[in-house]
């Protein structure tokens, strides 16, 4: 497992053992026969050699979601007043500012780092501990960064698709990013574990409540929920890494061959830029 080599210590062993139990239980995806060109292309494009494990992991995550997170998020969404929910969202995103700031710097995005710093300063003080997004109202819009994105800007490959327990859709690069972000978060250094746990649970409920309708919609309208999530996750990450700037013509997803007249040559180009 690539993850194991990249993450040090106990966590790595834990992830590796969870992953290898999963892999032992369900095995790897079988590559299609080499003479079936369309199937080979689809297989390579999916870049998901651990698909059976990932599908099992999604099932596990969905079961957890249905049992705990979804009902809690529903109650929260239906019973807490909208302005208060916005306050909670603002408070939680303000806590992320130091990590975003660090990643802005690591990516050499000094202007964005300045925005993040200003936002944090203003919202933490005049915005009362971040519950009001005053800076946003003044045109300093929030943006997100994480160490997975930083690694991507350093040309680290994302690696195969990986569904992590609880964390969900990921890949080795972004998995390392999650760990690095939690290590570089100053709030994680100074406060006890209970606080961090509470914040993690709060964030999960907040996010789940915000995406409640989207997730329902996707589940209802997809032929293959797993494949839809995989595609969305990848495209979303590419967009985040580019900071929302539309790519130059050749790398717009699906851009090259809207007419698949020469599907093989043209599409492989589109695929390679998608990663």
């Amino acid at each position: 497992m690539e993850v194991a080599r990249l993450i040090p210590g106990r966590t790595a062993r834990l992830i590796a053992s969870v992953a290898s139990i999963g892999l032992l239980a369900v095995g790897c995806a079988t590559p299609p026969p080499a003479n079936d060109k369309a199937a080979v292309a689809a297989y390579n494009q999916a870049n998901d050699p651990y698909e059976p494990f990932n599908r099992a992991m999604l099932k596990f995550n969905l079961a957890l979601d249905k049992a705990i997170l979804k009902p809690v998020a529903y109650v929260y969404r239906e019973n807490v007043a909208d302005p208060l929910q916005t306050n909670v969202t603002n408070f939680l995103s303000n806590l992320r500012a130091p990590v975003i700031f660090a990643n802005d710097l690591l990516q050499g995005e000094f202007e964005r780092a300045g925005t993040t710093l200003m936002r944090f300063t203003m919202n933490s003080t005049f915005g009362v501990l971040g519950i009001n997004d005053l800076a946003g109202d003044l045109g300093m819009e929030e943006h997100s960064e994480d160490f997975g994105q930083t690694l991507a800007t350093w040309d680290v490959d994302d690696g195969p698709y990986l569904v992590l327990p609880i964390f969900g859709p990921s890949n080795p690069r972004d998995g390392v990013g999650i760990l690095a972000d939690s290590l570089m978060d100053p709030f994680g250094w100074v406060v006890p574990f209970e606080y961090r746990l509470g914040r993690a649970v709060g964030s999960a409920v907040d996010k789940r409540a915000q995406n409640y309708d989207h997730i329902n919609d996707l589940e209802k309208n997809s032929l293959d929920f797993y494949a839809a999530i995989r595609s969305l996750y990848r495209q979303r990450r590419v967009e985040e890494i580019r900071n929302g700037v539309p790519a130059s013509d050749s790398s717009i997803p699906g851009g090259i061959s809207v007419v698949p007249q020469k599907p093989d040559g043209q599409q492989s180009k589109a695929t390679s830029t998608e990663k």
Partner: protein, 199 residues
């Protein structure tokens, strides 16, 4: 060379036709703006029944989108492995599938607004129109439209919401279904049939 009156008349008619042809060659930006205004006006009408909304959505979809082209794209490499009958049925099912999946997403449009920001050329025949949907109390949602233009007729060939392309998502999902049903387009068609005949 004699000039017969008929030829002169013919030339005259030709000129009239040429010059009276749509003088207002709409840009892709105008096209998206008009389409957006129309969609918001027609789909946000209060008291619309779900059936009526679906019908209006279908009309808009067929006017503004090049659905057969999108359908073909979403099949990717498998398009060529499909028989002609399969291709035809797939295009029909794709339209049904899109309507079923997307019509309901336009239920709540009150207070929302589509702002066309600008456009950029991608190729001689294609442009990317950048826009955003403003939602009261929330950050705007970025929507980019890929427009293909031919003889001043514009058609949408892809929509990207916050960088997520509808066509690519659909293509990836369809490829997974085909892979799971034994690598045959027939398996996907069967799944689409089932999906579009339920509810």
């Amino acid at each position: 060379m004699t000039r017969s009156p008929l030829k002169v008349l013919g030339a005259f008619l030709f000129l009239v036709l040429v010059y009276s042809a749509p003088a207002q060659a709409a840009t892709p930006e105008d096209f998206v703006k008009n389409m957006g205004d129309k969609a918001f006006a027609s789909l946000s009408e209060p008291g619309l029944t779900p059936e009526e909304r679906t019908k209006r959505f279908r009309d808009l979809l067929n006017q503004a989108f090049d659905l057969p082209r999108i359908a073909r794209f979403t099949l990717g490499r498998y398009w060529r492995t499909a028989t002609e009958e399969e291709q035809q049925e797939f295009v029909q099912l794709f339209e049904k599938f899109v309507i079923q999946a997307y019509a309901s997403r336009f239920q709540d449009m009150s207070g929302k607004k589509l702002n066309v920001l600008n456009a950029r050329e991608i190729s001689a025949a294609q442009a990317l129109v950048l826009s955003e949907i403003q939602i009261p109390g929330k950050p705007p949602v970025k929507i980019n439209w890929r427009i293909r233009s031919k003889e001043d007729v514009h058609k949408i060939v892809d929509v990207m919401v916050e960088g997520i392309s509808m066509s690519v998502t659909q293509r990836d999902e369809f490829a997974a279904v085909i892979r799971q049903t034994g690598g045959k387009v027939g398996g996907l068609i069967e799944a689409l049939r089932r999906k579009t005949s339920s509810d």
